[in-house]
Symmetry: D2
Subunit: 335 residues, 4 copies
């Protein structure tokens, strides 16, 4: 594989894309602070002299990693993703996504939305389509759940993130949600990755609990290679021999990812720990380690939650946590 980059003004782009494609190259436009960068990929036998005729600024890039568009070599400025409600992820300001595991009723999601908004979160999380280990468990309210969540979010001015499992659910999820989530078990569901890539929507990609950091970035590359640069990476714990926590939060993944990619990195302490008592220390640690955001399970009444109640915070505890999070975020901002 040959990788070439070409930086140029907006005017020339359409023309160049056309010519490069006619030379048999795959063309990706990567937005950077210095304007769009055209990334070209092809096989070894491409005649580079032909390409030089099209552009004198084209450069051959040697990659030490198997991913291209996710790498800092192609784009060395952080990717900032701005949502319809004006919230930006990756801009330097910490973003908090919070809400229940599943949408259960209009009242439940309304209460959750109000609570997370009041505490200072900017994005409402909630599941309408739930992946469950058992085929007999509660699998979510589906489209009805999406509608309830949208209503609750709009009232509070929150954006929405929700998971998609089945390719068939992508269109309806796109209609109601601002960010589509790919769950840990689907991190290497390449067919689903391509399909959410094509939507152009911001994608929150959870690290597979079994995936190395390199595989995680390769999974992101699947989405990016569909022309969708709006990918948010989420560390949520990996599988180890330790049984005190559900999974082991790989806190080192935050700085390692930050050193390799321009994509924003957030952390989900709720699923990593599987225990609400550990959310606070893990959330604070994630902020101190440089995360761009957090994904936290908050439920108005955890004891009656249809799933993951054990790992959900009550609104009052979440409010207190947000105060502590802000203190650490402020201390980090002084560095």
């Amino acid at each position: 594989m040959v990788v070439l980059v070409d930086s140029c003004g907006n005017d020339e782009i359409q023309h160049k894309i056309h010519v490069f494609q006619s030379l048999g190259l795959k063309v990706y436009i990567v937005p950077t602070s210095k304007g769009p960068v055209i990334t070209l990929m092809g096989n070894d036998c491409i005649d580079i002299s032909n390409i030089s005729l099209v552009s004198r600024t084209v450069q051959h890039v040697q990659l030490k990693v198997p991913y291209v568009l996710a790498s800092k070599i192609i784009k060395d400025t952080p990717t900032v993703i701005t949502l319809p409600n004006g919230v930006s992820i990756g801009s330097g300001a910490l973003v908090v996504m919070a809400g229940p595991c599943s949408v259960e009723s209009q009242k439940q999601i309304d209460d959750a939305a109000r609570a997370v908004k009041n505490a200072g979160a900017q994005i409402l999380r909630g599941g309408a389509f739930k992946p469950r280990t058992s085929p007999y468990a509660f699998h979510g309210l589906g489209i009805e759940g999406l509608r309830m969540m949208r209503k609750a979010a709009d009232r509070e001015g929150l954006a929405i993130v929700t998971e998609v499992l089945d390719p068939e659910d992508i269109p309806i999820a796109c209609e109601y949600a601002d960010i589509l989530q790919i769950g840990t078990r689907n991190c290497q569901n390449f067919s689903l990755l391509r399909k959410v890539g094509k939507t152009g929507k911001p994608i929150l990609l959870k690290r597979g609990m079994m995936n190395t950091i390199e595989e995680f970035l390769m999974a992101a590359e699947y989405i990016l290679s569909e022309g969708n640069m709006n990918v948010i990476l989420c560390e949520r714990g990996i599988r180890t021999f330790e049984t005190e926590t559900r999974n082991t939060l790989d806190i080192s993944a935050i700085p390692v990812l930050k050193s390799k990619t321009h994509l924003p990195v957030i952390v989900d302490p709720s699923h990593a720990a599987g225990n609400w008592k550990l959310i606070e220390p893990l959330a604070l640690a994630a902020v101190a380690a440089g995360a761009d955001g957090l994904l936290i399970e908050v439920h108005p009444t955890p004891d009656t939650a249809l799933c993951d109640g054990m790992q959900s915070l009550r609104p009052d505890k979440f409010e207190l946590l947000m105060k502590k999070i802000n203190r650490i975020a402020s201390a980090m901002a002084l560095h």
Copy 2:
């Protein structure tokens, strides 16, 4: 969840199914050596006295595991899956599936089919749709590959197993293949599991490289719960800290699975080791540990393979291996 079983003659089945369903129960028919067993699932508030009116033979079953249809409690005889070419999996006789990682050309798959047939294998494996870590890698020949494989298999009287990744490819794969394979990265792709479940085709389900044995059985349960009892479980290595092998073959999984489920269990030493030199000892170990079959990568010319050449056996080495496998299988048959 309440689980009840009802054994009855074939004649009564349709009537009973109808009545149980009208009571709000999910009904599954599990074939056993003593005739069909009706398995009923419902929530706690089902009135069991109503059910007793329908059948006096109904029994309440207490489960210690979260899976039902995969468990030995429901069905204590081994499930035997018979393919159109007459080969049976799970019958006590060792079954060998062999062939290349990907179908690359008609000649390549013809050569592979002849070689594996001559050495004594009964099923041809080969990928038409390939899951690859990189979006830029070779992803298989698709439907063209399926056609080539069918042609090669038919000439040799072999059955076919091939992987499906995308729900959209299921119908075409069903048309050409005898067994659909779900790969390790899709072991918890619940949406795909349900869809292959609905086809009724035999399904070869590979263990997720980071899935516990219980999660593996729960993944099988997704397929079974669609009414498809033809599931073959495949141990193919799990992820550990050891780096000498690509994954660590969990040889204990064979007897552990055998103690918990009636489904046949096969082993893939090629993907576990990632190195052809290890295939022989791992294949022999799998047979000695009680596996019902093996899935082995064989390529006419591994050096030029488009993928996984490093872990593929040459035909001559495979023939020698089959002799050794048969010796161990014969020794096991004496026990």
Copy 3:
């Protein structure tokens, strides 16, 4: 095993110990804020009525964990360990131990001591006896190294922590060091644990890279059961499938340990990551997660270090890190 506790004044202790021992019980004195607590262990057939004659305050304690003296049930106030230079570990104020992997020369350790002191650390670390994977690698300067380290530390008013590997080295290490370190590979070297327990010296016990949190606490119990309550637990990364870091820092271990034991918990980000670039985010994360201290490799000239140069910070970088650590520690103190 029967576990009983008896709180009493200092005067009665000697008498009671004597009587309890004569009843065949093992007796441990655990210092708490409410005065010493006598912990008694025996087998089931002890006649509790006999014990009641000795003390009316004795209580039977039901343990849900296999460790006794390390548990919060026996002692619910944090254990504070005070060193000869006046520094306390576990008191609420963050303690930093820093220095080179190995003592290499008087100048090297002098430079290191000055640098870590100036940056604000309170304890000098440095190896005189080094565990090395290879029998042919540098194994430390031995007693000569201890002398150099003591000289350097005394000049700066620092305490000393150093590792012991061989039971034969314990007496000499006790002479020169303030804290004895048990390395990750010896976490379950029960013979060594008992022997350092008998010294009464503060022991820094590193978690085995393969040990669960429960096994880690059981290892501490070996030291405590020799009557030595001065144990500092150190999380330093566990072994997982991820290869970007040498080990995976188990950040959750901090709050989990804090919930189970009264012993202080520190973190070693240097060995966890195996890369100096990751020390800062991991150190800050550890403080935010509630660690009582940090153990950081600092070398005056990492490029020429005889071991672990890759994971050692230069003095200037360490000074900068200490400023950031203090900012996070201050933010934590506001909670």
Copy 4:
């Protein structure tokens, strides 16, 4: 490090050793089928021309691995270890070591010895010094246990393998046992490895449950580098996320070790599985994968065992297992 080998007749050895040592080189004598090979190690600045004066047959060896004496480059014939009772390990014939976890009484060990002898085992295993996770558990009968075991073994013509934990116990263990065992938790207890190395006794080294194969061979190298070539490697399961078995038997370690070292490799299915029901399939798999021997827990009355009863076989089951083992071993011998 420079590594040189020099093959020569027995007569010249003493002279050469003396000269090489005077040049500042470490000298190891490795016995091979072609006579002794002198292995020399030194640092880079050794003047090789000086060495050539001593021997014209000396060769410089390039190593791709960090171990020397354990590697096949130095010695490409299998190491065969012969015990006082005439049994050889590594000779091609399968060797079985069996017996209880701990020696509990003369009668218990007598019964065990008779049972394992009658079933065809050649070596009696049994613990006198037991490593236990808890300081309060049964730690073995010590020297009394050794005496009982020797008596029982001698009556049956069995050799003895027993574990040492504490350097202080080495002399007494050497007096009574034929093979000293280093347990999984001490695999990287380098101080203990050196000390058992100095005894010259055959050493059974168990793989650390979290050690890579390379680290395992480096641990063996510690023993070999003390001049003791009698090391038996024992795979006994590694730590993974799977919880159905106590550890995951790494069956691939057998062929991987066999490809890298001349040392014999045996397998302990009892500790790997932690469940007697799994011993049979794992033992048969180990033989089929090429193991030189097995280490199996057998107890006359598992229900009353002081430790590990759950994973011990009853004599009748062990006898049946030995028949099956022999069938697989015979099938393997035909290859």
